[in-house]
Amino acid sequence: MELNTYQQEAFNYQRPNIETFGKKNIFWSVFFLLWIIVGGYALYLQIAKGHIVTGMRDNVVWGLFIVNFIFFIGLSYAGAIIGGVLHLLKVPWGKPIVRLAQMMTLISVIVGPIFILLCVGRFDRLHHLFIYPRIQSPMTWDVMAVVTFFAGAVLFLYMALIKDFAVYRDAKMNIPAWKQKLYKILAIGYRGAASQKRHLLISQNLLAIIMIPLSIIVASILSWIFGMTLRPGWHSTIFGPYFVLGALYSGLGVLIVAMWVYRKMYKLGDYFTDTHFTYLGYGLLVLSAGYGYFTFSEYFTDWFGSAKWDNEVINKLFSMKAYGGWTLFANAAGILLPILIVAIPGTRKPGYISLAAFVMVIALWVKRYLIIVPTLETPALPMQDTRMEFVKYSATWPEWALTFAGIATFLLFFTIMSKFVTVVPVTGLEEYNFPHTPHHHAHEPVAEIKEELQKA
């Protein structure tokens, strides 16, 4: 594989990340593994004793697990849309961050479905989904959607990696033989011949074209698991687009946070530049405005119409005695905060934007909780049950342990993956992506925008 000087430089810079694991990474990996072990114990309890160890009961049949499922799978859809759009539109500044988006897509489509499996009472009968499928169930649609999406996510990431694998293979790095062999296999004989380049590009274009609408479809299908029921707060025509936007929004937030972490950890400031944070920050601003609009539209319609059942949910969401505090947090931190941070020039800096994105991601997780639990706590008939755990959901420690185990798995995958591939794709880079080198004009587009902004 022949590399131009920029690509060579990017590779040389990131090469040590692949060659050594690093003390910090070992520490974090062990830390994540410990969480996963705790989660494993919780899982053992759940399997041995049944779902009784969770806080879920006959009214609130789904809890933290499904919240996590929506959350992670949302990140995945966002990664595919962001990666696909950046690829198709050939956005020059997007090249260094495409890999991160694609990694997020794959990792979260692995972690997310684990949580839906945790909701299922009978692990041992999962094959029934395939031997007795019933096409009219939104759950079946979701199974098909997630499986298809998973295949797409693997291919999408892999296609983008082939060229890089060829680089790693040819670089004669100081790595174990098995790793060298792995790169050789994964590079599937790519030598950079014209026909290989053409085929790869066509495949990538096709995949990007498939993945964007696929993400929208699967995010909508996920929303329909709730939207297709007759329950207040769920049975809403806005739910499909609402989930698509929510997924994209929270995914962009996680991407920004991931960029910030890798920038610190591997000192990738030359690739994940301030401009990236600013541009993605603008994206965040637009999406938060959109998400805020959807949220307002949803609540306002229910509240103004004030049908009895709908209103019961709205009252719970806005009453300080029930979920009022959380609703306030979800909307203040999840919608207003990113808008303010990005809109004010003084805070439009990588650190602030990442912090806002991080808080927003948590707020959006809370928002998913507010979508699921209050509705389930509001059945049409009065519950009239003296067992409090049947009336009000409160997550138990095994649920929290498994939640944190899921987050730990997510982070562990990121850690390990960054030891196999360069976080910044080497082969896609061009002159434009090197604002730090003095011998070119890469500063210009940014400078131009700045000038324009100043004029305006």
Binding site: K49, G50, H51, I52, M56, R57, D58, N59, V61, W62, C119, V120, G121, R122, R125, L126, H128, L129, Y132, P133, R134, Q136, S137, P138, M139, T140, V143, I225, F226, M228, T229, L230, R231, L376, P379, A380, L381, P382, M383, Q384, D385, T386, R387
Partner: protein, 341 residues
């Protein structure tokens, strides 16, 4: 009970059992019939041996019974080793899914007669071997508006004609039969609980841990018509007791009610009975302004309610004598009444 209604009830019963026989003769080949019979005996024998191993104190009476073993041999065992279960009719799985031909089961609940005697609840639990805290049939205390008077509202599965639960089941574990009944196949249910989320009437209950079942029941083959045995990690609910209908009997809740609240019957025959009186279904609905709960959801329930007009009991009759744990359920509504009056 007047003569006519007795006759009508009897005809209902004989028709059901006649139907059952017809079915056995016409719908199945002889071979299949024998297979089922062999299975039935095998299971009964298995029950017998199980019961025997658990309670060895049983006295041998000396009365011998001939049984067909799974190998096709005729074996003779003492009748003391047999365990008798009224509800353990064994049906082929595909038959459980089809339903009783020609029937369209329907229920009418007369809210004017309910005083929360709770006999229906315990009869249901007994019939299905369910513990006290598992209520397939619950009695709610409803109050439609602030000024409205509270009334007792027994609620079981509505066996909707447009069932939201069946629509969402990903594996066809819950299904609608041609006799109108919605059942659950707990050998197939994966426990995703989507049906529970989809049911607007909170009808379904989940086995959050290993269900508490009598030992000899636990290991029987699952029968969707009885919901027995319960299985961990699966969903269950009221089944309209088609096993009883096959025998020409009424569901236990209907029989147990001291006030004749529940009328059960067949919409095709246009007949419903509460055990004491047998009436025309359409006439009853017409005369008493029968309605379906949350009709606006479009689920088309097969359970109709007669409004609580001219009630036979004051609402307190169902509250004052309750144990405290049950009282606590209805306290809010009852105390709300006190404040307003």
């Amino acid at each position: 009970m007047d003569e006519q209604s007795v006759k009508r009830k009897q005809s209902l019963i004989t028709q059901t059992s006649a139907m059952k026989q017809d079915e056995a003769i016409n719908d199945k080949s002889r071979r299949e019939f024998l297979k089922t019979a062999a299975l039935a005996t095998a299971i009964t024998a298995a029950c017998g041996s199980l019961a025997c191993s658990c309670s060895s104190k049983k006295e041998v009476i000396g009365k011998k019974v001939q049984l067909l073993s799974p190998d096709g041999e005729i074996v003779e065992i003492d009748s003391a080793y047999l365990n008798h279960h009224e509800t353990m009719s064994v049906l082929a799985q595909h038959e459980q899914r089809i339903g009783i031909p020609g029937k369209k089961f329907v229920m009418v609940v007369d809210l004017a007669r309910c005083k929360n005697a709770r006999k229906c609840v315990s009869a249901c639990q007994k019939h299905h071997y369910r513990p006290d805290d598992k209520e397939w049939l619950t009695v709610k205390l409803m109050q439609d508006s602030d000024k409205g008077a509270p009334y007792w509202f027994p609620k079981q599965c509505f066996h909707c004609d447009n069932p939201p639960c069946v629509k969402v089941c990903p594996v066809d574990a819950t299904f609608k039969r041609q006799d109108g009944i919605v059942l659950i196949d707990n050998d197939r249910c994966i426990g995703c609980k989507f049906c529970m989320a989809a049911c607007p009437y909170s009808t379904r209950v989940f086995n959050w841990d290993e269900p508490d079942m009598p030992v000899d029941i636990q290991h029987l083959e699952y029968n969707a018509e009885t919901g027995v045995p319960a299985k961990v990690g699966t969903v269950e609910k009221c089944d309209f007791c088609p096993d009883r209908s096959r025998e020409g009997l009424l569901p236990p809740c209907v029989e147990a009610c001291p006030n004749g609240v529940f009328y059960f019957g067949d919409e095709n025959e246009d007949t419903v009975t509460n055990g004491d009186e047998t009436l025309s279904f359409t006439q009853l609905i017409k005369d008493r302004a029968g309605y379906r709960f949350l009709e606006e959801l479009g689920t088309k329930p097969r359970v109709y309610y007669l409004p609580p007009k001219d009630r036979q009991f004051p609402v307190e009759r169902g509250y004052d004598n309750l144990p405290d744990t049950l009282k606590a359920r209805f306290k809010d509504v009852m105390e709300g009444v006190g404040k307003k009056s």
